[in-house]
Amino acid sequence: MSVVPVIFEKSTPGKRAITFPKSDVPAVDLAEALPADLIRQTPAALPEVSEIEAVRHFTQLSRRNHGVDVDFYPLGSCTMKYNPKVNEEAARLPGIALTHPLQPVETIQGNLKLMHTMEEWLCEVTGMDRMTFQPAAGAHGELTGVLLIKAYHEARGETQRTKVIVPDSAHGTNPATAAMAGFEVVSVKSLPDGSVDLDALKDVVGPDTAALMMTNPSTLGLFDPHVQEITEIVHQAGGLCYYDGANMNAIMGYARPGDMGFDVVHLNLHKTFSTPHGGGGPGSGPVGVKDLLVPFLPVPVVEKQENEYVLDWNRPQSIGKIHSFWGNFGVVVRAYAYSLAYGPELKEVSEYAVLNANYIMAHLRKYYDLPVDRFCMHECVLSAKTLKHEVGVKTLDIAKRLLDEGVHPPTIYFPLIVEEALMIEPTETEDKATLDRFIESMVKIYKEARDEPDKVKSAPHLTVVGRLDEALAARKPNLRYKAEA
């Protein structure tokens, strides 16, 4: 079926899937328990279907979706690595899945110990002093980190530090975060290789600099050769340095943001630490800090006292809270299981991630433009500029044609500083055969683009739906099902 009706269209009055027992307590009259003007008059028109219909509906929908479990998913910047099944099993242990966030701490020592241990491990990986797990995703971590910086400057009376410097190669969340934390964003042009232009940086730093936000390796997949100078420049100006750790998969065991001079770092556990992306989330964006920022961490902090773990709320300088409870604990659990599987061999994760990206680059550079001719780290950024100019086949067309090959396309049109960008992140969990298959597909599409460009421009051909009318979606927003009148 190439159209699956929305579940509301399958609804029939009176149908039921799950029912509940009759009440076993003396009845209370709703009209007595609740004020008349607050009792709902029209029930929410939720679907009414049987269990078999519900199960078929979501089974059919799932079969209309790609995932890492289905095939290759080299979506750049997203680190779509394999999500181990054992982590799912671990997260469902009753001592984990069935625990309440407000249980007395003495009844939940195992979970506290898990968080405390994981904090130590991630500090070791990043070279930081403490970590908080409250942020639910990378962007949430960024916000937390930037608010920590704000609190730091405020505590020192330096409220004139109102600017955050963000290279123009940065992910959109960086400038958006800075703005959300009330800072003014100063965008600095990157060098063509995506690295920070030291002169431009020197020009903009000053007494109003609160921080620099930097992604390293950059969104071009390249490690900034001057990272240490950069953090020094910012520090000398009295600013702090924020490290967007989304690309941590490139450097584990090789280099640590803490050693590069960064004061704050966030990790994306749903990237580097293999927790599943879930169709968009949940993630986990723990934030690590150097000692100077520890007083400002969100409350509560897990502390070990003698042989007991406690939640320390008594932190007067804290920025407060950033999550209803302690963050996406179930995601941290999966990352913990992953860390157990590797220990110091996390270094090999990065080694092979980098190997795979360079292997793809080595093969595809013969066909696609290579904006920066240097070995890349965990991802390589190519461009379809020449194809576009010569035969009118755009990056979007190439991506759509890849769908017919059964793989998920790379990230496209990002980073913004590369024209017709194709950002390919294979991750270390792919084997050579899969990479070869992908390379073959990309070469085949390249040739098609030259020989039968229309075939590429009209792709995809084999998917359950064809190219969508995105303009229509935006022009006439249809954002929810409404029963026909």
Partner: protein, 447 residues
Amino acid sequence: MRYIPITQADKEAMLRDIGVSSTEELFAANIPANVRLQRPLDLPAPLTEMEILAHMSELTAGNINLAEYTSFLGAGAYDHYIPAAVDTFLKRGEFLTAYTPYQPEISQGVLQVIYEYQSMVCELTGMDLSNASMYDGASALAEAAGMVVSQTGRKKIIVARSAHPNYRRVVKTYMHGIGVEVIEAPLDHCELDLNKLEALITEEIGGVLVQMPNFFGHLEQVRQIEKLIHAKGGLFVIAADPVSLALLEAPGNYGADIVVAEGQGLGVAPSYGGPYLGIMATREKFSRKIPGRIVGATLDNRGQRAFVLTLQAREQHIRREKATSNICSNQALIALAATVYLTLVGKEGLREVANLSLQKAHYAASEISKLPGYQMACKSPFFKEFTIRTPKPANEINKALLANKILGGFDTAVEYPELGHAMTIAVTEKRTKAEIDRLVAALGEVK
């Protein structure tokens, strides 16, 4: 090397194709020596899968869990029944291991689920549109506060002291960043004091944030509050319990401008506080202000209905520092759980859940109130949670309950010292009369 499928032979062939003799060359070409880590990571040696599970089972075996203990603890995370079919879909690799549906042609599954989720949220809240999810209830409320500020241009907002203490903290943290003052509206017992609230609401106030039912489980006079805030041109934000919306009026019908909610009660495991689900819905007129992903229906080039991410001009990857929020990854899988849950329980089932919870909570309240020294802390109506004064500190009572394999209610002492000894007790449809009687008996025996 656990999840790395590259053999030594493959590695060598790949290095050859790349034109280097070792991966070290790749790193050396990138990472300057002055920042290279010169020692192995100091982490425990790798474990095999079997050891990982054994270790983690042992680590968490001592945790008290809700399968073995009878829970009356709520305060933002509830022990509602989770139908067995929900987890089936959380484990389907096509849902679990996909990411944001950037490529709609191979992501119709996730996209349609989100569209259905958005539709259900609109039905429950009485709003026009919903986003694809926020991180959790607290951050959704904080983002709503941000919307209020950006929409009204006013730099002050009011939050009810009867809202979840952690939600208030998160709102304050977010608002501090953008220099917005957060004023706490004071209580009369465990309900907002409307007179004092009225006095606080001026034309400088961007909006009022109210939790309904409030943290104590009791209802606020939302219709009156709506008049007060709208009279001064501010916005009205409700933080709802989605389960309660099966019985309680949809906030859209009493004038809320933005509705947020914690979706954990909709088929999501308590999981020590996360991952949960931030629900956010609003009126059409704010559609350019709402943060986060939104899915819309459209047509494909074969004329078929299909779904796609839309209205992206609000988002960080397009608008960067001018975006409505920095949110990127959200809680899509948890939104799937809620969608499957709401599909399974359906229109009637959610009413049953809500009604059973209400019935049982009222039974518990009336039985406990009969015990000497126990007395309802507030007279206002309540839904599935209520707050009761206790003869001794609640944490001492809870210790005694634990010995009876009961997880007691939320001790309000730290957050609301003004209530004296008190606890907030949550009762869901899962609790049987026998369990409630056991609680009452155990409370009666606390010395």
